[in-house]
Amino acid sequence: MAQSLDYLKETPSQTAGPYVHIGLAPGAAGFDIYKSELGWDIAGPNAAGERIRVEGLVIDGTGSPVKDVMLEVWQANAAGHYAHPEGGGEVEEGFRGWGRVITDFETGQWGFDTVKPGPTPGRNRTIQAPHLNLWIVARGINVGLNTRMYFADEAAVNATDPVLNIIEWENRRATLIAERTLRDGVPVYRFDIRLQGDDETVFFDI
């Protein structure tokens, strides 16, 4: 026997369930209760950088869109700073860099508007390519899933990104890269998340 370590243990996760909207997006559940719901404006009005839209589906193992998902986004601003005391530097007033997105109950489509983030420092003096951190919860997901969305038009820096390069299977890296198109002059990135099956998205244990 030895002395006991007096660490606590993390509270276990439980699924967000089908009614996550009541707590985190009550307007979508069908009622109005708070003075403001959190997470609808990711970048705020003053953020520098390119304004973009991101859209997609979350697809289950049967190939069907999942229609009761909540995603959270956490991202740096165009200068590569997170809105946090340890985030690397100043951000614009009103830039939180965090958002909540829910899928349409009928179609499973989700989408949000933000600014394209800049590169951020990686471990051991590497540079991480611009990316969005995503966290996915839903009924049937027991522990929230962490993934990242990278930008197809950043091929050069994606090629040296330390996280993409840690993924042993080069063909799976493509599951994290969103294609860019223009719609009415606005860049739109398409990012489908496949929970299971062919082209299963890479998820991370961070």
Binding site: Q14, F31, T120
Partner: protein, 242 residues
Amino acid sequence: MTTEAEFYQRDRDRHPPAYTPGYKTSVARSPRYSLISLENSVGDITGPVFGHDDIDPSDNDLIYNYADAGQSAIGERIILHGRVLDENARPVPNTLVEIWQANAGGRYRHKKDTYIAPIDPHFGGCGRTMTDAAGYYYFRTVKPGAYPWRNHVNNWRPAHIHLSIFGTGFAQRLITQCYFEGDPLIPLCPIIQTVPDQGAVAQLTAALDLNASIPLDTIAYKFDIVLRGRRSTLFENRLEGN
């Protein structure tokens, strides 16, 4: 003076695995490949910061936060309170805690809930608050009812309150559920049975707390929440390199 580095690795043996066939919905929604393990970088040790301007002080009172003037929610009046701590047993101050739940009859105020139990016109079913400097939080609400759900046809969810907690870094982000001491449905619930460790199930079960109850008014349950702890950088290996 030490600074803080990455979060402790998540103990996946205490969390439910992704694929838990007793909880049928997980079957088609569970990744089959292993998660790719990453050392934390800046986007993981940071997370959104909220302030008291983001919420109203009354958002934590579910008995009244959706009730018409002079009315209140129907049901057993309870206080749910506790502390948000990290694995180093340090309080997590000024962090956002959000909850949602069914009403006393087991019915959610949600356009997708069609259970026969009635909606309570004076109960919304959600609340939010910030922990104080000591990591303490509290809500007043009604005890939610048990309700049936379509998994096996005779499955019933024990009374539970959903909680969403942030912490200081996105790697601490957590959604969980709080159950109530003594509920005979707890060991029968397929969602609770996804948790592989009985000690972990106990950690999800709020204790009856008569000391915190308000005599002749409201009964209390205590539910502490533990988020991942962070390592101190004693010598080396800072996130950005040395």
